[in-house]
Symmetry: C2
Amino acid sequence: MSLRHAILTALLDGDASGYELAKHFDLSVANFWHALPAQLYPELARLDAEGLAQSTDVAQDRRPNKRVYAITDAGRAELRQWVAKPSKPMSVKDELVLRVRSGADSDPEAIAEALQHRRHVSVAKLDGYRAMQKQMLRGRNEEEFLRSARRIGPYLTLLGGIALEQEHLQWIDHVQAALDSRRQARHAPTPA
Amino acid sequence: MSLRHAILTALLDGDASGYELAKHFDLSVANFWHALPAQLYPELARLDAEGLAQSTDVAQDRRPNKRVYAITDAGRAELRQWVAKPSKPMSVKDELVLRVRSGADSDPEAIAEALQHRRHVSVAKLDGYRAMQKQMLRGRNEEEFLRSARRIGPYLTLLGGIALEQEHLQWIDHVQAALDSRRQARHAPTPA
DNA sequence: AAAATCATGTAATCGGTTACATGATTAT
DNA sequence: ATAATCATGTAACCGATTACATGATTTT
């Protein structure tokens, strides 16, 4: 159960409410964890109850009030001991790849459409990541940043997100090209 | 619930028992789905009951008997209509990336060790994929294969698995380099 | 006035993991 | 004999999603 550690890690970057976490969680941990409000709210309450986070009710006058959570010293300690433990293997679930495997030969049109849809999603994600990267670097190049920044963890995670989406895009284009060349071959077949 | 479609897709490559699926599932769908025996056995029984797969008890004399499942016409039809439906977004969960984010600055030694461990895992996976690729190509180059092969879906999925692991390895080495250069900077700091 | 967004939660259900149970066969 | 591998399942639990409920505030 690493949801709590994902949350505590996100809180290292600054206090946040459940709503804020729910909205930016994926972007914040750059593609490597995900959680919905229905999971976040009770877990935040638990972290508060166990003293790993501390909640403060914040009044706002242009929107409804919110409950902001901050990581505590106990939370930091919990994170530190968790970091040294072995990681479970990465788990990926991607219905699109499954559909490519099963439908590339039987329904290439539907697959091509699905690929283009996913392409748009990936490009949008990449744009978001690149914006975050620019913001973090603040004019410095990467080498400079890695030398001078107070924390590099979030940047390294972001690099992973960028690399993952780039790889994804390349694969999509590769598959699309394969489908296109097959379509031509089917329309003008060269029988033995 | 795409487990059943993942199973049906795997069965397109040939009949299999629950045990065989459990053992080769990850490799077969090349990194994009995963399931344990406790999930596979009941789901296979359900597919059988619903007529999407058909089971046959096969007697073996050098090992215990097994129950082999084959996809049926109804199963193929179910797959075909599923392929045209929209895919849920890819979901990745990777504790290692989370640990890098939270521990790169506070515990670089533990992170470096974890990275090297994952590196070995990734290299082993890549080796397995490359072997499968060679087997599929059977001497042909990719262009030739894509023209002449009866089915290309499994190959395209495999390409995705290879690309994912390559990207992962590059990211690991990138992070390792960043940690190393930081270690040097810490041992020989250049204060203002 | 209606729709969208901000904000927090609960309940029911579903999917996935862990632990357990059993037994055949093969290798050491 | 013992351990490893082959083979199939069940039960309990945990984690995640979906649906529901409520209400403030802002925008159209």
